[in-house]
Symmetry: C2
Subunit: 490 residues, 2 copies
């Protein structure tokens, strides 16, 4: 049996690691800071990817694939971009290994590259270099493309899913004839992320824009969604950037508009990554391990056949297989437990640790009574229900679970979010783990000072600031145009 | 309009490039030897990936994901493996860029890695290091896993899809308690590849095993499928390796068997890549451009609405949209042509170049007669058919096309394959582009001499050699255990 899970109250960080390990989601690899995504984690990511991919296609996007390597000189073209990414780049300098005098494998000095390559930390540079060749006229616009890829950003303090040197993600890169169109696109994709987070991950999020200091390097505006984790910290769950004409200017990407004038192209980019899995874990899981929303769980239901002698095996298995078939006919993803030699307790715990939303156990007595024991992972409630009508019952219960998970997360977020009027109250909210809406004077200096003193950062400036009252910065007393959201963050 | 396609007879290599470019499949990138896979190429690859993935899952495999980076020292552990891959590795030596005195971006000397990383050319080493931790007992076996990933093998003479520094692929890595089980697995996956090539790609293949010199570095036996391209050359389309206990020994991966004895684990690995797209192109395409089998084509049908004044637009579009709906209800992938401002000829040619298997054109006269003009991409045949029953008609025609493509490729392969008795006949067959079954004495020396003199290599040794007669090597006269397949190859 898998190791026990450390309770959240005892050691939150250890709890997270225990949930990931026992959930068979991922583990550390011999390549520093990189993770091995295990089959249960990969199946979860594939469900997330497929759903997002459908949403991208429904909003008119197509997939393509750009190279892993970016020529070094491309990074120099956009000043803020290089500033933001140069410090965490994997640099490829040689194309061959050879043996040195001691017989050790070393890069062959003769294979040194004339120009080094960067392993992509994100692909704006190489993509906008190419767009400058693809785009001539307004008739070529818009370009609405996305890629699913691995990227590398060297991390000093890696944590599985949350911060890894290599991660999997998608990056959308669109090109537009007008500023308005590009802004609308960036907003549209933030809405897609919001829908995905709330309706599929059952993870409520807040939308807004980043302050200058938290903006994507090279963006004019970064929009984000932020979710509250169970320790009250914020997780940036997705970003969508209005890039203005910055990359078009850096890569000389112009088009002839309808009036036959040359203009720079307007751009957006947007991405979410395997980091979302970290968010999913910290939104729903409990001291028994992983809890997954039914819409994304690799298996939505596990059937556990229970028999204690050979006579019972045939009839129990037969009923279980018929049950599986009926559920699968309803489009439900079912796993059949095959660990017959283990105790029921061990088997139940195993599926709990893996976060299967619903467990159906069938033993000889259930056969006699045409019953099934149904156990919800989220509430741990057990119920004996008739086999008759079971598919509808399971289907409804999965819907209930999906709904309940979101409600609980929503309530937790509401309970731990405060509107604060002064710095003492602010420190108190941040100190016990929570979101604080507070007035800010709009300067990076005050933002930096608050971060230094409380470790809290401005997570977002809300879009609808007109609804917010004006006020005074809680620290400096300077005028504020409205409250912004502060929290400690992952 | 896209550029014309160079006829095959005139310049086969240029024809290939023209088909790829006009088919909007891929283009060269600024990262040397790496390609940009364009949306039409990516949609094709995604269809191939999804189909293969389903076949892997149907044979009991699950996906996972291992890191992009492999620590340098891992490559040294399996002697043949390092020999095979060290010469074409991208080596990561630094984790940061900085500006030098002239302001140029250079790898920061202070970020030099203690141990270099190799960008994976294949993942046996890092995976078997991990398997040695995952596997303790026979109860942990078999492990039946696969990953979809990008890999890098430095290429001196890159060609889009066929040979690129970075390519996309899948690599299966399985672990077994017995030799028999591992061999069966390697054979099973070769059969999966064969089914995929023949039934989905409509590309007939020959199965067999590789000679020692063509074996995967570190394998005991490499099984392969080989297909004939239109120039009579062979393309290795997929390989499945029985790795014996080589990697288990290199990474000290043992298990306790049922008799409580320690044994090394038995291994397989198997892979296909975006190279298959090169094979698909060279199997079916013609002088009008790309031809795609309906089962894999991104769009199976394009509907081209034709109208010449505003009055006609409404009724024509209405009929076309109704038609699209009816086809989509039958599960057919449909594209609606929107290039109304271009001439019909331009539009027809555009879809031909992209390889859409079936074109339906509807103009005002078709409306009057309740007809549709249907044109097959493969035969270029046009036919006027009634709108009534169109979905069934289209569906049947797509089946016909799929079948016809395979038949044509099968015939071409048969027509260009010869059983040869002597070296003159052999040189003649190889010289005009073809497959030759010939006797070989089994030595690497003879194999090398034939390659030097004719550029032909042994593509495979058939599995069922007992069916083949014994004979004498065509070159040396030494005894031969049976004929092997020779061809020039990509």
């Amino acid at each position: 049996m898998a190791d026990a899970v450390t309770p959240r109250d005892e050691d939150y960080s250890q709890w997270y690691q225990d949930v990931v390990r026992n959930g068979q989601l991922a583990e550390n690899s011999p390549a520093r800071g990189c993770m091995i995504i295990k089959p249960n984690g990969m199946a979860l990511w594939e469900n997330m990817r497929d759903q997002l991919d459908q949403m991208f296609k429904d909003t008119g996007h197509q997939n393509y694939y750009f190279p892993l390597f970016i020529p070094e000189r491309y990074m120099e073209r956009e000043a803020e971009h290089v500033e933001g990414f140069a410090k965490e780049c994997a640099v490829v300098t040689h194309s061959r290994l050879t043996q040195d005098e001691e017989g050790d494998l070393v890069p062959d000095p003769e294979s040194e590259l004339g120009e080094n390559y960067i392993v992509r930390p994100t692909s704006e540079t190489i993509i906008w270099d190419t767009y400058s060749k693809w785009i001539q006229s307004y008739r070529d616009l818009p370009l609405l493309y996305n890629q699913w890829a691995n990227v590398v950003r060297w991390e000093m303090r890696p944590r599985l899913f949350l911060r890894t040197a290599e991660f999997l993600w998608q990056e959308g890169h669109t090109a537009h004839a007008t500023e308005t169109e590009a802004v609308e696109e960036a907003e549209r994709m933030l809405d897609v992320y919001t829908t995905f987070a709330e309706e599929y991950m059952a993870m409520p999020v807040l939308q807004g824009r980043k302050t200058e200091s938290e903006r994507f390097p090279g963006a004019v505006d970064t929009y984000c969604i932020e979710a509250m984790m169970q320790d009250g910290k914020a997780l940036q769950a997705g970003t969508s950037h209005f890039l203005g004409q910055n990359f078009a200017k850096a890569f000389d990407c112009t088009f002839t508009n309808e009036d036959n004038e040359e203009e720079y192209v307007w751009a957006t980019s947007w991405g979410v990554s395997t980091r979302l899995i970290g968010g999913l874990i910290m939104t729903h899981s409990d001291d028994q391990g992983l809890v997954l929303p039914p819409k994304l769980a690799p298996h939505q239901v596990v059937i556990v056949p229970l028999f204690f002698d050979d006579d019972q095996e045939g009839p129990v298995m037969e009923t279980c297989e018929r049950l599986q078939e009926r559920l699968e006919d309803h489009g439900i993803r079912v796993k059949m437990d095959q660990n017959h030699t283990q105790s029921p307790g061990w088997r139940f715990s195993e599926h709990e640790l893996r976060g299967v939303p619903l467990r159906l156990a069938i033993g000889p007595r259930d056969l006699e009574n045409d019953n099934v024991e149904m156990a919800r992972r989220d509430t741990q409630e057990k119920e004996v229900v008739p086999q008759d009508g079971i598919a509808e019952r399971v289907s409804d219960t999965l819907d209930d679970i999906q709904h309940a998970l979101r409600e609980r997360a929503q309530d937790r977020q509401a309970d731990n979010t405060r509107v604060v009027e002064d710095y003492d109250a602010f420190r108190e909210v941040i100190g016990r783990g929570g979101f604080a809406w507070a007035h800010w004077d709009g300067t990076p200096e005050t933002e930096a000072r608050i971060q230094e003193e409380t470790s809290a950062t401005i997570r977002l400036i809300p879009f609808d600031r007109e609804d917010h009252e004006e006020g005074e910065d809680m620290l400096t007393g300077e005028p504020s145009e409205g409250r912004v959201l502060f929290a400690q963050a992952y």
